[in-house]
């Protein structure tokens, strides 16, 4: 159990680093969505199903959609 959690934490941090590094903003946003998704699984392990649901619906899904729409209307690559 704790191994699984540690693995998820490591993955989540890697995702955050990836969101920092990627120059393609769409990829960065997807990495950020991965962070949100893993955070939502961690919320579930922390016995917070309500929050897990909110994070999955709002943090992972809607935020990503808003980001992608905004990127589509601006510039996809970070200069």
């Amino acid at each position: 159990m704790i191994f699984f959690v540690s693995l998820l934490v490591v993955l989540m941090l890697l995702g955050a680093v990836a969101a920092c590094i990627f120059r393609d903003l769409i990829s960065a946003v997807i990495a950020a969505a991965l962070v949100s998704l893993i955070a939502s699984i961690l919320f579930y392990f922390l016995q917070a199903p309500d929050v897990a649901m909110a994070e999955a619906a709002i943090g992972a899904a809607l935020t990503t959609a808003i980001f992608i729409v905004a990127i589509r209307r601006t510039n996809r690559y970070e200069q």
């Binding site: 309500d50 619906a57 899904a61 809607l62 808003i66 729409v69 905004a70």
Partner: protein, 226 residues
């Protein structure tokens, strides 16, 4: 240069936080308020989901503020983005399979979202989660079918109504029992759908409001301004 300074700054933050965390051990009960909500929550509010009873009842005022924040964001976004006339972007239509799939899924997601916010006091979930799911149905229909299904009049009316129901329910509590947001309706039998007094009413209002606001935000963002 900038990087070095920020790394030094961040290490100070990290050291400070780890120092203070020593007094906040993980996994041990620290709460004083929360324990009381667990002990008395079902009896006092009638909702078996204690998080819901905290969100809507014990800390309902926060939730009112939170709904307001979302309302501000939707209004502000409209004010910032709306210039000139509205005009949807011309994009080539999606494939037939995708279109049909989205159209079939759309009502199902709506039903699922409503289920989530109607049962907020019994199961995990509530107005915010349900509202977000409802909004995601609109995102799906936009992405899949390239069409917008939001009538501005309807979403504005829902937005206003949702907020007003919340405040007015609070004010009725003030008039009846002397406390704002007092749960003045009989609590009913726990575990049944019609229980917990005004909690489901408020959560449904929040659900509609959050759903229409989030959908409105997406709608405002996708429409191309000229």
């Amino acid at each position: 240069m900038r990087k070095t300074i920020s790394i030094i700054l961040l290490s100070i933050v990290a050291v400070g936080m780890s120092l203070s965390l020593a007094k906040v051990p993980f996994g041990q009960p620290k709460t004083k308020v929360g324990q009381r909500y667990i002990d008395k929550g079902v009896e006092e509010t009638g909702a078996v989901n204690i998080v819901t009873s905290v969100v809507v009842s014990y800390r309902g005022f926060d939730t009112l503020g939170e709904v307001t924040v979302l309302f501000i964001a939707a209004t502000g976004l409209g004010a910032v983005l709306k210039i000139g006339k509205r005009e949807a972007a011309a994009i080539e239509p999606a494939s037939f399979v995708l279109r049909t799939g989205c159209r079939v899924l759309f009502p199902l997601i709506l039903v699922f979202g409503s289920y989530i916010f109607i049962h907020g006091h019994l199961t995990p979930g509530g107005g915010f989660q349900g509202g977000a799911i409802v909004a995601s149905a609109f995102v799906l229909i936009y992405l899949g079918c390239r069409e917008r299904r939001i009538s501005e009049t309807a979403s504005t009316t829902l937005e206003s109504l949702g907020g007003l129901v919340f405040v007015v329910a609070g004010l009725i509590g003030l008039a009846v029992g002397g406390y704002f947001l007092l749960n003045f309706v009989p609590k009913g039998q726990p575990y049944s759908l019609l229980s917990a007094g005004i909690i489901p009413v408020i959560y449904i209002a929040i659900g509609f409001k959050v759903g229409s606001e989030l959908a409105g935000i997406i709608d405002n963002l996708i429409e191309e301004s000229t």
